[in-house]
């Protein structure tokens, strides 16, 4: 299964990933990080396709994607 990880201290809560995700995996949470931002959380983790659209979109490189090695072959984009 692909898994999106959020580095909460990097997230600025801009919501761009939320809008970019075709699967509704992500949403802004209600917790604040150390810089005063409400950061993103996985709300539907199981729906993740591993498409990386959220990663490519995030201006703060707050998201990373881990996949089970056998599952996909990811091209360098």
């Amino acid at each position: 299964m692909p898994r999106i990880d959020v580095e909460k201290e990097r997230c600025k809560g801009c919501e761009l990933c939320v809008k970019a995700c075709p699967q509704g995996v992500l949403a802004i949470g209600t917790e604040m990080n150390g810089k005063g931002y409400f950061f993103v959380k996985r709300v539907e983790p199981t729906k993740c396709l591993g498409c990386r659209l959220c990663c490519i979109t995030c201006p703060d490189v707050a998201l990373s994607l881990n996949v089970n090695g056998t599952m996909y072959h990811y091209f360098k984009y």
């Binding site: 692909p2 898994r3 201290e9 990097r10 600025k12 809560g13 801009c14 919501e15 761009l16 809008k19 970019a20 931002y37 591993g50 990386r52 659209l53 990663c55 490519i56 979109t57 995030c58 201006p59 703060d60 490189v61 998201l63 990373s64 994607l65 881990n66 996949v67 089970n68 090695g69 056998t70 996909y72 990811y74 360098k76 984009y77």
Partner: protein, 265 residues
Amino acid sequence: MKDKLAFGYPEGLTTGGTHYCPGCTHGIIHRLIAEVIDELGVRERTVGVSPVGCAVLAYNYFSTDYQEASHGRAPAVATGIKRARPDLMVYTYQGDGDLASIGMAEIVHAANRGEKFTVVFVNNAIYGMTGGQMAPTTMPGQVTSTSPRGRELDLAGHPIRMVELISTLHTPAFVARGTVIRPLQAVQTKELLRRAFQYQKEGKCFSMVEILSTCPTNWGMPPAEALNWLEKTMMPYYPLGVFKTPEEGVDRAPLPLCGLQDGGK
């Protein structure tokens, strides 16, 4: 089987995080540059040049040697570096105020001399760092803190298209425009950056990639809305594409509208 990282943090970036506003696409552009530097394997001989503008602290964000240029003069600084050490990979990162306003002479001349470095030109149609004044690339009617009635074309003229302007120079160059507002466009822009750096690596020519970018803070709109505004307002005026390549036979210097025969009518 162990998990495998399919998207992670590029080595070309330092890990500290940036000062950019939430949703500002400066951050995406940074990442794309870092990835290209990583993928070309040139990090250890790359020197960046930061502008004066929101990216003034870029030297803190890229894990390469860096120089901070005075406002608009990054192309002159890069010329100095590259002429001193042609073995280095050199790029400037410049905003639209920096490059298209105060730095107009420096960018045109560096391009025209065919300096073998790469320019990443981040056009967000405004002066971000100083709090939202009009830029040469500000759109007609766009309200900024120094165009409170919107950019008035009869007083401030039309927005400048730098890629088009630089493309008219006869000196071979690679000149292109992209944006990062959607994932696909980010991927395409990365490709433009890769080509730009590749031409430099081969010592071929000057290269410049203009990237349309957002400034949610000074445009006064949420980040996602800013992407849409860019698409709707800026993209029709600033078409994406490759405008000039160094290959032979693609010089497109304009010809006169009409000969002197009918001049004066």
